[in-house]
């Protein structure tokens, strides 16, 4: 048992603010490398042209004048709070939202969130609230990962409660169908996050967390890694290619996460990330 460590909520606000301001201009190196690899492998001439444009777009955004994409996203915040941490000075949720608010304002990022989904749909004006996933973990640190998640690709995600008898083939078919139906709308080439197992809501969270892995890093379980490799090959066999103008590079990676589930169930969720993969991490 460690001693309780006090962390000022202002430190959390600052970390979230800085991450929002950075990630919307500077694509993480693992994603930039994945795009470069795709450029080398792409067989279609128009696909290569598109990937060259995406690299130029990255370089231009990195200069800090224009965000990579005008959709600066839902702000998704994964926060792992060590159980020996005591947060002082403000409410944790408020601290995170304050970081989003000031980061989005000061970095000239778009406010893309409406306060309610079906009534007035009034823009909140500051991209809050953030979409926060909190875990209490061992230790005395706080790990914060922020993801600016584009709405266009988010819209193409799918969730299904399959039957156990559908098995692995049913899962593969569902993933492939989701990628095929997303087509150009999800701004390929991107990352496919797949959550298998858990219950209704855990499958979706697994899929989202799968996107947060370093791009192309295989799952440690060799059975899952093999499934990732097979899905990667099949998704790319669809021929969709960069921007769906035809090609061999439809997805940059498929990441799968799995979890225990019920004897009656086989939940599957697919969360698609576009080529504008914007994420970063801070540890306090």
């Amino acid at each position: 048992m460690g001693q309780v460590r006090e962390v000022d909520a202002a430190e959390i606000t600052r970390a979230v603010r800085e991450l929002c301001m950075e990630i919307n201009y500077k694509v993480p190196e693992d994603m930039a490398a994945a795009i470069r690899r795709a450029r080398e492998k792409e067989e279609s001439p128009i696909g290569r042209q598109i990937l060259d444009l995406l690299i130029r777009n990255q370089e231009l955004a990195a200069q800090g004048e224009y965000p990579y994409c005008q959709d600066t996203g839902y702000t998704v915040v994964f926060i792992d709070v060590g159980q020996d941490v005591h947060i002082v000075g403000a409410d944790l949720t408020d601290a995170i939202n304050e970081g989003v608010r000031s980061g989005y304002r000061d970095a000239y990022l778009r406010a893309s969130i409406v306060a309610d989904p079906v009534f007035e749909r009034r823009n909140t004006g500051d991209n809050t609230p953030a979409f926060i996933h909190t875990r209490i973990v061992p230790g005395d640190q706080i790990r914060i990962q922020v993801d600016a998640k584009g709405g266009g690709s988010e819209n193409k995600g799918r969730h299904a409660m399959l039957k156990p008898s559908d098995g692995l083939e049913g899962v593969k078919s569902f993933v492939l169908r989701t990628v095929a139906e997303a087509g150009p709308d999800a701004c390929p080439p991107g990352i496919i996050g797949v959550g298998i197992g858990g219950n209704f809501e855990y499958a979706a969270i697994l899929a989202k967390r799968a996107l947060m892995r370093k791009v192309g890093q295989p799952h440690p379980d060799p059975r899952v890694a093999e499934l990732e490799a097979e899905l990667f090959e099949k998704c790319n066999a669809l021929g969709i290619g960069p921007q769906s103008l035809g090609g061999t590079q439809t997805v940059l990676a498929v990441h799968v996460e799995t979890m225990a589930t019920h004897i009656a169930s086989l939940p599957v969720a697919v969360n698609i990330e576009c080529h504008a993969h914007r994420t970063g991490t801070r540890v306090i």
Binding site: C69, Y108, L176, P184, D185, A237, L238, I240
Partner: protein, 204 residues
Amino acid sequence: MSVELLPDGRKRIRAPLSDEDVRQLQAGDVVLVSGVVYAARDAAHKRMIELLDAGEPLPFDPAGQIVYYVGPTPEKPGHVIGSAGPTTASRMDRYTPRLLELGVKGMIGKGGRGPTVREALKRHTAVYMAALGGGGALAALQIRAQRVIAFEDLGPEAVRELEVEDLPVWVVNDCEGRDFYEQAVAPWRKEELLPEEFRLGAPR
């Protein structure tokens, strides 16, 4: 003439477009858009249709015009606009036929259109073009001026008059019913690697 054929095979267009202009634009053409386009996305479309239902005019004269589905980021000091790439077009499908009836001739977005819009493009001699999805920083460099002309309270979704110079797009759906995505993807499908159920029909 609002369509100019360039030596490298690309075409430069400038609104207003006539039926004759639209007929020169075919699925797969690379087009540079110059002149005025009107920025409008989800919430603006909903409001525009409400205006029409109330017998009011649109915020701009739609005859021959091009609508760009975009909600830009705020401009940094010294810049005309922020990042300004296209948003998913199919979300506007429900509103599009009404605007085509009123004479809108072109739309710029990303992603595919549904069968109703593709039919409406044929019926009204109009064209749907895609810009580089997620290429918001590059798109910003082609925009020379922006002016909010309606629904300012919608923030990024307000209707804007944009002046663009050589914004690169490709024709996806032309007025003869062709679909460039279908044409472009088919040769790259590796049928032998796909499960049985995926081997027939188009990917979308």
